[in-house]
Symmetry: D3
């Protein structure tokens, strides 16, 4: 990646919204991952017991979907774009130590949707934190990264196994 | 924490915005942490070289501050509140492997500002990702947690050393 | 409508924003109706007397137009789309018992604009309620439905006479 | 109510946001009602069958709660205020012909929360419409009115039986 | 004003939202002015003729009022606050060369409302520009300044005659 | 410009969002100008001294860019559109009496981006005012106008020298 530079700065180092007016519309997809680490007892309260599990996970899913639509309002140099679909999946992790979040976003447009997928995963995670913080303050949100990206001039990206 | 329950669900398990109308206004503070892991070469592009560093970190700082103000718009069951101050600090981590983010939020009100601090840290991290993604896709956002919280009936919380 | 299902749920019953990335852009229109029932004396205050009528109806019209643009921010699974036009008409009903609202929205895109038209009509109605509530609390908003829809794969819909 | 006038217009008939700076903060509550009329078959798809009911009603509940927080952004002359709680209940109506919506909002402040409760009920209804429109276009939103209001100088209001 | 410094920067020159948590709530008011210069023929189209004047000025008034409520969302370091009233007046200027805008905002809180008043005046001006740009592109918005400010520790300010 | 009329009013003089559904997508650009007049001492605090200049100008730049994306949310009859790029430049004026602002916006769509450029310039100016108001209240925002516009049926516009 010789010669790479931070595309959101102009020659003077000033923040700009990059010009995409010459880029064609193409179908694009991005998938992002996130994780909320919590104690097994907290996880159990979300997943089972006499507390219906519906609204905790449903609220986080919906918050993630709605956040994807606000991405360009949150991230200063993101382009507004017409999102074609958003799906946010939440599931307990294999170790029983938290919730895994997967957010998949699609669009047809001149720019990618990594930021939309990352924002959806982040806000779903924040919403889980909010709903469980009365029982545990030590939760930690992490592992927020792009798993997959396709479409556009830069081609397909698939994240290598986590180091 | 026997008898603890998820405060954002009513007896039927339905999401509700918790009633805080009987809680007094007190001065409250929360400090949250976040981290963006990146390659040393990416970090170097932000911090030095002929590229002025100002706008990358300044943009992330401002995005974090503005996001704190949008917290109740992003997190479904968060109460809107009058934030008294927000400060977002960004600095290279000790290992030279990324940027540490610290967000401190204060208010005088009936509810705490953990979610505002966590949201500020998360969106500052997402903004760094956005500004650097043209040079590295493998960055990872993590270690988002509450470091400190004071004010309100639940008293002061200080996070123990990370396990 | 055998086999119909709720399109906004996936196979597991989870909320998703439906994928429209394979649908072509077509010109679409939707017209929605709403009504605010009020006492004749309240209606008279809006329409005549020494109180200039301009700003009550103008405020409701503008609120409806602006709300159409916020539809995807309000309705969790709505797609953001580029609205081509919005028109909100307000007129006293034939019985002299309220204000009829008609909202017409057009776009060129992959999804319809029923929700935008319904949201414009609803928010125009809420704005009328707000402006008149100091003189009458018993007003009722109702008859919010789609009158007409055209464009897209599902073809043209015209509502039958109200039962 | 002799001498009543539309409080949101000044002497020239121009829209203004009424001055509440001299009004004391008091605890206030408002409860609003709404209804979505639909065919029994549509209602059955929401409530039962092999489709988990969770996300349809949960999505509408959350949309209503979030909309309450956006009221002053939607209704031009509404004051922004710090909502203390929001609760949105959804239940099938007695006749099996739709869903009843009840939204209760509380605040401590200088103005009432009728508009917040009405907005929550309206947006919950719009969200139900959105999620069911693929199976029925003829649904109708109605019966949106204030059931109860308390707090503030104007005292307690309880709606009489619907005429 | 010896020793004055830019209060929105910390010791390192980084943007911060100033801490107002130790400041008492007081009643505050700010009045801002703006102007849109246009040709007499454009002004005449707004004010008279067979075109009803209502909606041009009403739309600008409402846009100004709504913008005051969005100030903390637009200006990065502004505190969110509970506005008590907003009034936007529009009138032809003495020279017949444009529209004068006066925006008055009140609150009870720890910070002033100059930015809210200036934002209301600016957005009312932009809305006039938008509504008239089909007939004149040469309009100019100017003279946006604070006329009056009262309340808070810094006391009352009244702008001297324009130089 | 005989026969010109205010395009945002219908035949009855009511505000409408103009129908652009029959207009083709074309590449469009608009450049707007703004100015903040301040005392030389205030200007000096922004530009030099021991106060790093970075965050004042960076904050205003970012505020302007983000505001361009909110234009259709602020200006009632503006169409939402997919902005392709935004650039906001800030520089001291030739007379040393303030900051000149230039905002350039591009899109590919059916309507122009003058309002987006004017909004970016206005909000950058308001942000400068906010950040400097602790040292000077007498600043004035002015000279907000369109310098250049190209694309679309109405062709290219370049502002003549200021009268």
């Amino acid at each position: 990646m010789t010669g790479a530079r931070l595309s959101h700065l102009d020659a003077a180092g000033h923040a700009v919204m990059v010009d995409v007016s010459a880029k064609p519309d193409t179908r694009r997809e991005a998938v992002a991952h996130g994780h909320v680490r919590m104690r097994p007892a907290t996880l159990a309260m979300i997943l089972s017991g006499d507390m219906p599990k519906g609204d905790v996970l449903a609220t986080a899913r919906i918050a993630g979907i709605m956040a994807a639509k606000k991405t360009s309002d949150l991230i200063p140099l993101c382009h507004p774009l017409a999102i074609s679909s958003v799906k946010v999946d939440l599931a307990p992790d294999a170790a029983g130590a938290g919730i895994e979040i997967t957010a998949r976003v699609r669009t047809t447009g001149p720019t990618g949707v990594e930021m939309e997928a990352l924002t959806a995963a982040s806000v779903a995670a924040l919403t889980l934190y909010d709903m469980c913080k009365a029982v545990e303050r030590d939760m930690e949100i992490g592992q927020i990264h792009v798993i997959h990206k396709s479409g556009g001039a830069s081609g397909t990206y698939d994240r290598a196994a986590t180091p």
